[in-house]
Subunit: 253 residues, 2 copies
C-alpha cells in the first residue's frame, strides 16, 4: 500500500494499455488493474507498446467488473472529462493525488479509475467512486487520450509525494534584455576573443564557446547591462589598439 492502484476499465486497444503502463512507470506507479479488456488478456500489442514498462503488464491484475477491481479500496477516484449528472465531489488532479498520498500514508488503499477510450467511464462506474477527478483541459478541445490522462495523474502523484520545488531567481523589476541583444553581446565577445586568441587550445575551442554563451544566458541581464558589457569590450579593444600605436603601429599578432 505505497501507491494507488491504477484501474483501467474496459480498455479497448492493447496499444493504449501499453502506453498507459509506460505513462505510469514514467512517474513510478506500477500497480495496474484491468477490468474486462475488450481484446482479452494478455495482449501482445500491449506488451509491444509497453517496452521498458512490460513488468507492469506482467503483474497487472485482471477483473471482470469494476466493483471487484476496487473491492479492497477505501477510497476511489474516477477520472472523467465529461460533466456528469451525479452529485459528487470534484477534485483537480493535484488535489486528488495529494488526498491519495495522505490516505495512503494513513494506511488506506486507494484506486483511480480510467474509462475506455472515446466513451470514458459509464455513470455506473462513476457512481461507485467517492470523488471525480477532472483535468482542467481547454473546453474547446478536451480530447485527452487514455495514456495522457494516466500521465497527468502519475505526474501529480509524483509531485504529491515529495518533489521539492526549485527556487526561481528574482530579477527584481528591471527590464530584461531580449535574446537578440544577448546574442549580439555573445557574438561581440566571441569575435573579439577569437582575435585575441582566447579559445585555446583549438580542441577545446568549441566547448569554451558554449560555456561562454551559457554564461551570458545564465546572467539576469538587463538592457542596460548589455550596453555596459559592450562598452567594456570596446574599451579593451581601444586599449589594445592604443598600445599598438605606442608600440609603433605594428600589430602584436
Amino acid at each position: 500500500m505505497t501507491q494507488p492502484d491504477v484501474v483501467l476499465v474496459r480498455p479497448q486497444m492493447g496499444e493504449n494499455i501499453g502506453a498507459a503502463a509506460r505513462a505510469m512507470w514514467n512517474f513510478g506507479l506500477d500497480r495496474m488493474r484491468i477490468v474486462a479488456p475488450r481484446d482479452g488478456w494478455p495482449n501482445p500489442k500491449a506488451d509491444a507498446m509497453a517496452s521498458g514498462a512490460g513488468r507492469l503488464l506482467d503483474k497487472a491484475r485482471l477483473f471482470d467488473t469494476t466493483a471487484e477491481a476496487v473491492g479492497d479500496a477505501a477510497y476511489v477516484y474516477a477520472t472523467t472529462a465529461r460533466s456528469r449528472d451525479l452529485t459528487k465531489l470534484v477534485l483537480t488532479p493535484e488535489a486528488a493525488m495529494r488526498d491519495a498520498a495522505d490516505r495512503i500514508a494513513a494506511g488506506q488503499r486507494v484506486a483511480v479509475l480510467f474509462g475506455p477510450e472515446r466513451t470514458g467511464l459509464e455513470n455506473e462506474d462513476v457512481a461507485r467512486a467517492n470523488a471525480i477527478v477532472s483535468v482542467p483541459v481547454n473546453p474547446e478541445f478536451p480530447s485527452l487520450n487514455l495514456a495522457q490522462c494516466v500521465l497527468l495523474l502519475g505526474y501529480e502523484w509524483r509531485r504529491a509525494t515529495g518533489n521539492a520545488e526549485a527556487a526561481v531567481t528574482d530579477y527584481a523589476g528591471t527590464e530584461p534584455a531580449t535574446q537578440i541583444e544577448v546574442e549580439k553581446l555573445a557574438e561581440h565577445y566571441e569575435d573579439r576573443l577569437v582575435e585575441a586568441g582566447f579559445f585555446f587550445p583549438e580542441a577545446k575551442a568549441d566547448s569554451m564557446k558554449v560555456t561562454l554563451r551559457n554564461l551570458w544566458s545564465r546572467m539576469p541581464l538587463t538592457r542596460a547591462d548589455v550596453q555596459v558589457l559592450h562598452g567594456v569590450l570596446r574599451q579593451m579593444v581601444r586599449w589594445k589598439e592604443r598600445g599598438e600605436r605606442l608600440d609603433g603601429g605594428r600589430p602584436r599578432s
Copy 2:
C-alpha cells in the same frame, strides 16, 4: 503576448509535431514555432495527426535556427530530461510556468524549447536558454515523448493561469468503509427497495438505482455508519413484517 511560444527544435517525425499541436491545444496553447523540421514543412503526417488542432500547424512559424526562433523572447526555458554540464537555473514545470505567467503578465515575451525526439536539445540550444525545465520523472524510466513533455508543460501553464483548486472534504479521523462494505450496503438497500416497489415507474428504475448507488458512494461512510445503516434497513423490514403479523399474517402485496 498572452501565452508562451512553444518552440519545437529540429523535430523528426511529422506525427510527433501533430501530437504536440494537440497537446498544446488541450491546454489552450496555440503559438507554435518550428526550427528546421527534419522532413520539411508543411508536413502531411503532422496535419493528419493534429486533427482538431490543425489550425496551430497552419499558423506555426518556421525558423532555420533556434537563435532566430527565440530572437524576440525576453526569457527562454529549455525542457530537458538529461542533466547537463551547464550551470543554469533548473525549474520544475510548475515553477517555470508560474514564472512564465508572471513575465507575460508583465509584458515580456517568453519561449519554451523542446528538443528533437530521442536526443533532446543540444547543449548549444540549452546554453541559449535562461533556465532549464526538468520534469520530475522516475529516474529508472525517464522516457517522456515529445507530445507528453509538451502536454505536461501545457497542463502547468493552464494551472498557472487560473484554475481554482477544488476543495477536499474532510473525513476527520474516522476509519472509512471499504468499497466492498459500501457495495454490500447498496445491494442490501437496493434488494429491499425492489421488494418494496420503490423503483417505480419501471422506465426510471435503472437511473434511480444509479442515483441511489451514487448517494452511498458520495457519503463519507465509516464502517460504523455502514453497520448503522444496515440496522436501519433491517429494522424497517422487521417493522413491516410485524405489521403483516398484526394484520393476520397476510402479506400486503
